[in-house]
């Protein structure tokens, strides 16, 4: 059975649940050995896959589009989060309710992450002049926000809020979708040459992941047990709560995990063009999204 490595972009967390269950329960039936390789702060799955360190990776959809615009021969084969989990957190007593309230405040920027693009587009669509905002590059450590070094914290809805809850810190969430920002979250991707030469393996992976996430959404407790067995050092209570918040984001379009429509991609591509990340008309949906593998998985 071919060994398949899926290179994640972050440390092990609740969002690995579907992949872990896929590897444990469904990979064998699809005749692959699936191994989920965790990432870190400085790991870029795009570079890893481009340099053939792995054939498959997980990365923010906007980052993949930007890479394809530069000519990277990469393509998405499944969408993990059809709706981006990016949000912006403020402390409950801050009085900040919308992007307009960011004016004069210190807004944390997580440089290099997709939250940065979401922020830029949100501010543009909200009609706010960013020059009036004190933008501060911040580290991933949440404590800098807790200590009040800045007022607005970019976050994933199923990550930082859980940490704040555990520290009994009251917070409010600003959802960029309210200002017309519709990005995807993470996507599964590969190189074009892998689709040409190992299409059956790619198909097996996608089918495995579809089954894995379907199982996780239907059986979160069992999937959580799979996760804890794979990564016993994870903090149980924290990750259980994180998975609870995350599951709606992994449901896919029309409750079909890994699916996304061409319109979803076009919305994100258009947003990236709007903030100048990519040149207009430099990326077509077909260049960055290959839905046939997901479609085939559901057809089986």
């Amino acid at each position: 059975m071919p060994a398949v490595e899926l290179r994640q972009e972050w440390f092990p967390n609740a969002n690995f649940a579907g992949e872990v269950s896929a590897a444990k329960r469904f990979a064998g039936a699809e005749k692959i050995q699936l191994k989920v390789v965790p990432g870190a702060e400085d790991v870029d799955p795009i570079k890893v896959v481009l340099s053939k360190g792995a054939d498959f990776g997980v990365v923010g959809g906007d980052l993949l589009v930007a890479a394809v615009a530069k000519g990277a021969p990469l393509v998405a084969i499944g969408v993990a989060n059809v709706k981006s989990p990016t949000c912006f957190l403020v402390k409950s007593n801050s009085g900040i309710k919308s992007p307009a309230d960011f004016v004069g405040k210190r807004v944390g920027i997580l440089a290099g992450t997709n939250t940065e693009r979401v922020y830029q587009l949100m501010m543009k669509r909200a009609g706010i002049d960013r020059a009036k905002i004190k933008e501060v590059q911040v580290p991933f450590e949440l404590q800098t926000f807790v200590l009040g070094q800045y007022d607005v914290r970019p976050a994933f809805i199923y990550d930082e809020p859980v940490s704040l809850e555990q520290q009994n810190i009251a917070y409010e969430v600003i959802d960029p979708a309210k200002w017309g920002v519709h990005f995807t979250g993470t996507v599964y991707f590969t190189r074009r040459d892998v689709l040409d030469t190992k299409r059956s393996v790619a198909q097996a992976l996608v089918t495995t992941l579809v089954k894995g996430w379907t199982f996780t959404i239907a059986n979160p407790d069992a999937s959580f047990s799979d996760l804890m067995a794979a990564y016993p050092t994870l903090k149980k209570d924290r990750e259980r709560r994180s998975l609870q918040l995350a599951l709606p984001y992994f449901s896919g379009e029309n409750n079909k995990p890994l699916t996304a429509s061409a319109d979803t991609w076009r919305a994100m591509i258009g947003g990236l063009e709007e903030i100048g990340v990519i040149a207009p008309h430099s990326v077509q949906v077909e260049q960055v999204w290959e839905p046939s593998l997901v479609n085939h998985a559901y057809a089986q």
Binding site: D42, D44, I46, K47, L50, S51, K52, L63, A66, A67, K70, G71, A72, P73, A111, G112, T113, E135, V136, Q137, V138, P139, E141, Q143, T144, L147, Q149, Y150
Partner: protein, 256 residues
């Protein structure tokens, strides 16, 4: 002191230049002939074009990180010299404190950096602190080593003259320690740049470290290569500054 004639020999310079040109040429050819190399490592021409096209931002990053590094090196030097003076005036305090300062180096810088940002916030002070933290130790150990190796007879000459301690420091300790001091400075110079860049990884509005960090998270090979080049040039410049300062000491030092 290194024989500068060896370094400045035309044949050596030519050989070095040839190797550098060969590397650049190889990189250019690979970068233009392979998509993955281009996307991962860019090419010299693309990198230079990028810098020219983004000269303002690149220049700002360079100057900002340079300022943090220089300030860090200055703070490191001041601290090392102050501690050296403590060793001269109060040897017992010096002996007690030295192991603690050694212990400060045991914690890896990348582990300390996030905590430093928590304490100092995202501004430049945390970067200067980290730059100084990584840079002070080689200067300090060399200064202490220099002080400990001052011949006792030289000090006894001053004792018989009842020379004030300040004169002993000025005319015996400092001239004797110059070799050691500059050996430490030559090591600390590039380290101060490393400290500033690593600190910028953990949150910076501007700087070479921030550029490299962003390019690590995104597919921006030109930004990455220009950041790496900026870091190298900065290290080289600060190292060169140390050599210049050394040169100013006079023939008694650089002719020995």
């Amino acid at each position: 002191m290194t024989d500068s004639r060896t370094v400045r020999d035309p044949a050596t310079l030519l050989a070095g230049a040839s190797i550098a040109v060969a590397i650049l040429l190889g990189w250019e050819i690979l970068g233009e002939s392979s998509t993955s190399v281009r996307l991962l490592l860019s090419s010299p021409v693309r990198t230079v074009s990028y810098v020219i096209g983004h000269f303002g931002e690149a220049g700002q990053s360079f100057l900002y990180t340079g300022m943090e590094s220089l300030l860090g090196l200055a703070v490191a030097t001041a601290f090392a010299l102050a501690f050296g003076a403590v060793c001269v005036y109060h040897p017992r305090i010096g002996s007690i404190s030295f192991p603690l300062l050694v212990a400060s180096q045991v914690i890896p810088l990348v582990c300390l950096a996030p905590m430093i940002i928590l304490v100092f916030g995202p501004g430049p002070s945390g970067k200067v602190f980290l730059s100084a933290l990584i840079g002070f130790f080689p200067i300090l150990t060399n200064v202490v080593s220099g002080i400990r190796s001052v011949p006792s007879a030289s000090q006894e000459v001053m004792l018989l003259m009842a020379a004030p301690k300040a004169q002993v420091i000025r005319h015996v300790v400092i001239p004797h320690c110059m070799d050691h001091f500059f050996a430490g400075m030559r090591i600390a110079a590039p380290l101060s740049v490393i400290g500033a860049i690593v600190a910028e990884f953990n949150g910076a509005d501007i700087g070479v470290g921030k550029d490299i960090f962003i390019s690590a998270k995104r597919l921006e090979p030109e930004l990455m290569m220009s950041g790496i080049a900026a870091g190298a040039i900065l290290s080289g410049l600060i190292y060169g500054l140390v050599l210049l300062l050394e040169r100013r000491l006079g023939p008694w030092y650089w002719e020995r």
